[in-house]
């Protein structure tokens, strides 16, 4: 028996096994359900079918250049904070075909790929990653140009967000105003309690997905538990960037500060940070032909401002040093991104801190600049 349609903003509770019914419903509706699962000792985002596929009972221990997935003594499904994966690999695939061209009778013709665009349901999107999707929306779908590859995937998505009750130590979403609670940009949003998921409806699609579930009440008690858990989560976040509003201008006005030599000297130009960052969008093109020379295809692949060839022009490289590339990355992420897109490119997810092998911490480096220019 279907439930009455819920309004946007309505809150209900579901017993945890109900999530299986939800996933099945989504799959029946044609969605490819993606969620966190454990693979190679880390949390990755991959297709899931049931709750059993989720990283139940895990925590992640994250620090500079340190990631461990550890078995904890709880039974919650969504505690483990994200690993190196983010949702960007689905909306902005690491490799996509732009076009094919073939030569017939001496003339070239282009064929645009007629691809099957999957319809994704993202299960378990953290608030920081929700913010990252919104940031990438503003990059890939703009007034002057819309990327058809991103758009085709983005318009089909259903997002089931999960508010963060157990942030890890590299998180700093609170400084960037993106968490730990999911507030908008989702179809459904969960907060995990011990026995139930509290669910908030974010859209018509979300409301529709709940139709065949057994719904419980979001009692005052449960709401209070959730609120307490989120407040505790917020207080537990150690890393901070103070005075974030002044940071863009601070960096912009200190592009020649000698401190860049210091902070840039640790960087290995390995590109890890840009790969794990959920908002990084730089890409390169690859032209691939067959031996006949009559067929070629052009593909788009992820690129990084740390790659040496990134800033190559005839005659040389305009950013030949690691230090200059580190400066480009940092100032773009938290300063010039705002000139370009009206908001910060950083969502405070902390992945770059966890996955930098040189132990570079973006919050610490910003703090160094703040102290050096005080």
């Amino acid at each position: 028996m279907a439930n009455a349609r819920l309004d946007i903003g309505a809150k209900v509770a579901i017993k945890k096994p109900q999530l299986n019914i939800l996933i099945a419903f989504l799959q029946d509706s044609g969605y490819l359900t993606i969620g966190p699962r454990v693979r190679d000792n880390a949390v990755t985002y991959a297709p899931i079918d049931t709750l059993e596929d989720l990283p139940r009972g895990y925590d992640s221990e994250q620090e500079r250049a340190h990631y461990r997935l550890i078995r904890a003594d709880h039974q919650r499904y969504f505690d483990a904070a994200p690993g190196s994966d983010s949702w960007k690999k689905f909306l902005f695939p690491p490799r996509s075909r732009l076009f094919e061209a073939c030569r017939e009778n001496g003339r070239w013709r282009t064929n645009l790929p007629a691809e099957q665009v999957p319809q994704y349901a993202f299960i378990g999107v953290r608030p920081c990653d929700l913010a990252a999707i919104r940031v990438q929306d503003h990059v890939f779908m703009r007034q002057d140009f819309v990327d058809p590859i991103y758009k085709a995937r983005r318009e089909k998505i259903l997002i089931l967000a999960v508010s963060c009750t157990h942030p890890n130590s590299t998180c700093f979403c609170t400084s960037m105003g993106t968490g730990p609670k999911a507030t908008s940009g989702f179809d459904l949003s969960l907060t995990e309690l011990e026995d139930v998921f509290l669910v908030e409806v974010g859209s018509e699609a979300g409301s529709g997905a709940l139709q065949s579930l057994e719904l419980d009440h979001a009692t005052a008690y449960r709401l209070q538990l959730a609120e307490t858990a989120l407040q505790k989560a917020e207080r537990s976040i150690q890393r901070r960037i103070e005075n974030i509003e002044a940071v863009p201008e601070l960096l912009h006005n200190n592009l020649e500060h000698p401190l860049w030599d210091e902070v840039g000297s640790h960087c290995l130009s390995c590109t890890n940070c840009t790969q794990v960052c959920p908002t990084c969008f730089c890409w390169d093109v690859e032209d691939l032909d067959d031996l006949s020379g009559d067929k070629t295809r052009r593909e788009r692949i992820w690129d990084s401002c740390f790659n040496p060839s990134y800033s190559y022009i005839a005659g040389g490289n305009t950013r030949p040093t690691t230090k200059s590339r580190y400066r480009q990355w940092l100032t773009h992420k938290v300063s010039t991104w705002i000139n370009q897109f009206g908001e910060s490119g950083c969502v405070g997810c902390g992945r770059c801190i966890t996955w930098c092998p040189a132990k570079i911490d973006i919050t610490a480096d910003i703090k160094k600049f703040q102290e050096a220019t005080a």
Binding site: F99, V285, T296
Partner: protein, 289 residues
Amino acid sequence: MKPSIPVPAAAHQEDYLLSPYWAEITEIVPETDDTTTFWLELTDKELRDSYKFAAGQFNMLYLPGYGEAALSISSDPERPERIGHTIRFVGNVTHAIRRLRVGQTLGLRGPFGTAWPIAAYQGSDVAIAAGGIGLAPLRPVIYHIINHRQDYGNVTILYGARTPSDLLYTSEYAEWEENDIRVMVTVDRADESWQGQVGVVPMLFYRCRFDDQKTVVFSCGPEIMMRFVVFEGLARRISTDRIYLSLERNMKCGQGFCGHCQYGPYFICKDGPVYRFDQLEPYFNLEDL
């Protein structure tokens, strides 16, 4: 009031500005040892009729199997059915283009980028300071001025190249002068067969007079040269919002979202390549930006 840099709309509002249109080479005009102008016509008639560009803009020319190169359009914006690109052969793609013949086709995406705001300076004196291949994106401005000569005051071209054999468009200087445009040319060095000036483009500023209130400077060439052109302009009290430069960086998409051409907060393919100097001032002297 500062005129804003016009960004003309793309000729065609397709979803897919990531795949090229096709254009046929209709004429190949060697200019120097390492530079040639290729004249193109879009193969699709509808596109050919609707394609428009503004002076200063560029196309991404695509050679299947080799890749793309960002190339300034060097022809007359009022005759957009024939698109000219003056190409210097410096890398894989351009060397491959060099081997093409009339009748062969190239992919074309564009036009992209901001334009020289020449129409906003009617009544002004114009100084066009160019070095080497930098004259190519400025030639459309010269065509425009010739087409509307009465709209502009004194027009001076200050042009330099490495040696006399590297000068572009030498066969056109006489026509430009016939249109009341002063053409000053210099080379870095020469042998005794050269009767013209030997020196550098910034030096040419010493050899003419500019009204600092009425003059606008458009400059394109090696960045070092442009820097000195700016010095000379500022020394003659031309204000920073009356000096325009065209910059160059690594370009891949041409539309401001692959990230490669970033320069400070700017995407050179989208907010540039033409900039008003006051926009560049905070960044122009920074190393490795």
